[in-house]
């Protein structure tokens, strides 16, 4: 059990930190929340800069243009990027390209598909979105109904997708379609959908934050070349799942680094907020709960290190990855509740009343999605109960 970074990790960190310090100021300021074009421009510009400096695709194999960094270097990378406040791949307009579609093409695409898309993704020239969920297929994703019918060398696709992030500015969509209505998991196919194909209608979906990073995708007789299929027909479920093993426990790392920062911010806010003769920080009960949350975040961070270490050793991340997702998403909501409690009446404003206060309120709203997306907490507990503990279904 060793928590010290190796010399080469530390060297990597020093180089990266120096590069970020130089590169970050060149980036334009953050655009307004709903200015998708500007957000695409900024995120892809940063991707291009990462690419030129050799940091693009930190977890992609070198043979496909990635950095091929070790898992510990990946942790260092996410840590430094987040601490510096640089754009984070996890919330970039092209997170699908970098974290899902790209890795899927690496694992399951053919040479032509790889050659056409991987370099463009890495350079920040191509943005992807995801067409998986449907209105009637959420937790039970495999019940998806968007229908693809073969017509010569094309699939003709009809249906509706939901929860497609940044579809407004995406070039391609990783699309799951039903090619066999008779079976469930085994009747799904994975297609590359160019977003400018006729019949694709993107309708923004407003969230509780009042913003529209998600869309609904209406597909009306959309013709997709068979050449755009990744993997075999009816094998798309397996293809889509391949991506998940790619993460090896790192997927929530940027989010968690950010959460640690946010908790420090909350402690600072608590010392700012006036309460009677003192500040909110003087309230033993509140202070202790902040300390408690900090202990939990520390522990989760160490669990990530355990998980990543296990993955580095054995190739599989072990039980840690399921635990981290479940625990983190509930913890960050509790931290948000604590923030509202500290802010008291100031929480009625998402504009800053105290410096940084609006941010924590906005985060409370944003994190509502975390116990739902990518497997609800209820589904996560089923998975832990059945796959890890071996309990009967």
């Amino acid at each position: 059990m060793d928590l010290l970074w190796s010399e080469s990790d530390e060297r990597f960190r020093a180089e990266l930190r120096a590069w970020i310090a130089e590169a970050l100021p060149k980036l334009p300021p953050e655009p307004k929340r709903e200015d998708w074009a500007a957000r695409r421009a900024r995120d892809t510009a940063w991707q291009g800069m990462l690419h030129d400096a050799g940091y693009a695709g930190i977890n992609w194999p070198a043979e496909y243009g990635g950095r091929g960094a070790s898992l510990s270097e990946q942790l260092v990378f996410y840590e430094e990027i987040t601490k510096a406040g640089a754009p984070n791949v996890g919330v970039s307009v092209n997170f699908v390209g970098m974290l899902h579609a790209g890795p899927t093409l690496i694992a399951e695409g053919n040479d032509e598909q790889r050659a056409r898309h991987l370099p463009a993704i890495l350079k920040g020239e191509e943005v992807w979105c995801q067409g998986f969920s449907e209105p009637a297929a959420g937790s039970d994703l495999a019940s998806l109904r968007t229908r693809a019918v073969r017509d010569g060398d094309h699939y003709v696709v009809n249906g509706q997708k939901i929860w497609t992030s940044f579809a407004q500015v995406a070039d391609y969509c990783e699309l799951l379609v039903r090619t066999d209505p008779e079976s469930k998991h085994k009747g799904i196919t994975w297609l590359i959908l160019p977003m400018d194909t006729p019949g694709v209608d993107v309708r923004p979906l407003k969230t509780v934050l009042g913003s529209s990073e998600f869309s609904e995708l209406y597909l009306d007789d959309v013709r997709i070349p068979v050449a755009n299929r990744v993997g075999d027909e009816n094998d798309g479920w397996r293809v889509a799942m391949v991506t998940f093993s790619f993460e090896r426990g790192t997927s929530l790392v940027p989010e968690m680094v950010e959460a640690r920062h946010q908790l420090d911010e909350l402690a600072r806010l608590a010392r700012t907020v006036q309460r009677g003769d003192g500040t909110a920080w003087d309230d033993t009960g509140v202070r202790r709960e902040i300390g408690h949350a900090a202990a939990e975040l520390d522990a989760l961070w160490n669990l990530v290190k355990r998980t990543v270490s296990e993955a580095a050793r054995t190739g599989v991340p072990g039980v840690g990855a399921s635990v981290v997702k479940l625990y983190y998403s509930e913890l960050i909501q509790r931290i948000g509740d604590l923030a509202l409690r500290v802010l008291d009446r100031a929480s009625l404003s998402i504009d800053d009343v105290y410096e940084g206060s609006g941010h924590v309120v906005e985060e409370r709203l944003r994190t509502l999605a975390l116990t739902i997306a990518a497997g609800t907490s209820q589904i996560q507990r089923n998975i832990i109960g059945e796959r890890i503990l071996g309990l009967p279904r």
């Binding site: 969920s133 009637a136 959420g138 937790s139 039970d140 019940s143 939901i162 929860w163 979906l205 407003k206 969230t207 509780v208 009042g210 907020v273 006036q274 309460r275 009677g276 309230d283 009960g285 509140v286 909501q333 509202l340 409690r341 008291d344 009446r345 100031a346 929480s347 009625l348 404003s349 998402i350 504009d351 009343v353 609006g358 309120v361 709203l365 509502l368 999605a369 116990t371 739902i372 997306a373 609800t376 907490s377 209820q378 507990r381």
Partner: protein, 322 residues
């Protein structure tokens, strides 16, 4: 001792419920987002129905009813998520001219720690402040207030103000004590109504939404979340009704403990139920289109009104006999 609703109370409950269904269907409530939460015509309909005047004597144009009836009314307003400074205008009826009749919209706040957050700044005619020394009508022309572009609750627009000045006196310290208690119970009642309707809506959704070829409400995890929603609501409702009755009936003894306990539990019921409702609604619960988030945001807002849960837990602890 008969802690059920009288037939008059049942009739009142039913009447307000129908009023809300008629005047404040959800699409009309949503439309109020664009007008700062209050539409004068609808406000007057509330006044005409007696929402503000119901505790005034019949001579003063009221119905001569008590806090129990007021709680019943506010519970229904909470179910419908009717926006605006309902509690303050109700408290001001008979004291601020035009409040009872719905001609003047009265807002208010408790003078505690700065900064002061003024709700519905653009639609209120009068701003009251309560502190230990009494009730005050704040001279808003002398107020240094800052508009908030992005309020937590779209139906509760706010200004942030500092150094709130006292204006004209509207009540003595004893009035302030009474207002705080009454306001606390009315907010509690409103929160119970929210908790209640959130349970209903989540149950309906869980019965109709299918995943894995079953209604999600048949999964024990979801079923138990819904059961807990009902439990929290019933417990909080008992507390709120009891607090209201304590304010109506001095022979039951000092009301403070009952009042604080009621607000504490009602705030928790509404916020917890709104969070659970979000989870039960899955992805749809994260959309603007589904109403749950409007309830959640309001629950958070009201959890800070007339004292937070922390404040009230402290109060109850201080009143324990040892």
């Amino acid at each position: 001792m008969d802690f059920t609703l009288t037939s008059d109370q049942e009739a009142l409950q039913d009447g307000v419920r129908k009023l809300c269904e008629g005047v404040f269907p959800m699409e009309r409530v949503r439309a109020l987002i664009d007008v700062g939460g209050v539409d004068r015509a609808l406000w007057r309909e509330l006044a005409d129905a007696g929402v503000f005047s119901l505790r005034l004597s019949e001579d003063d144009g009221g119905a001569g009813l008590g806090m129990a009836e007021a709680a019943i009314v506010f519970e229904q307003l909470g179910r419908a998520l009717v926006p605006g400074p309902l509690v303050w205008t109700h408290l001001a009826a008979g004291r601020v001219p035009g409040a009872a009749e719905g001609d003047r919209v009265v807002g208010g706040l408790q003078r505690r720690d700065e900064p002061f957050v003024v709700e519905h700044p653009d639609v209120i005619d009068v701003l009251l402040a309560v502190d230990d020394d009494g009730l005050w009508e704040v001279d808003r022309s002398r107020l240094s207030a800052r508009a908030v572009d992005w309020p937590l609750d779209p139906l509760t627009p706010v200004h942030v103000a500092g150094g709130l000045l006292r204006g004209e006196r509207r009540g003595v310290p004893g009035d302030a004590v009474r207002w705080r208690l009454e306001g606390t119970v009315l907010v509690g009642a409103y929160l119970v109504g929210m908790a209640d309707v959130l349970t209903e809506r989540s149950v309906d959704y869980a019965k109709s939404r299918e995943q894995f070829d079953r209604p999600i409400g048949s999964f024990q995890a979801v079923k138990h979340m819904l059961a807990d929603m009902l439990v929290r609501t019933e417990v909080a409702r008992s507390a709120v009704y009891a607090a209201a009755v304590h304010l109506d009936e001095p022979a039951l003894g000092p009301p403070e403990r009952a009042v604080s306990g009621a607000k504490l539990l009602a705030g928790e019921a509404a916020t917890s139920n709104a969070k659970t409702a979000t989870q039960v609604h899955g992805g749809m619960g994260f959309t603007w289109e589904v109403d749950v988030h409007l309830y959640l945001k309001r629950a958070w807002v009201l959890d800070t009104a007339f004292g937070t849960g922390d404040d009230h837990a402290d109060t109850v602890a201080g009143l324990l006999s040892v």
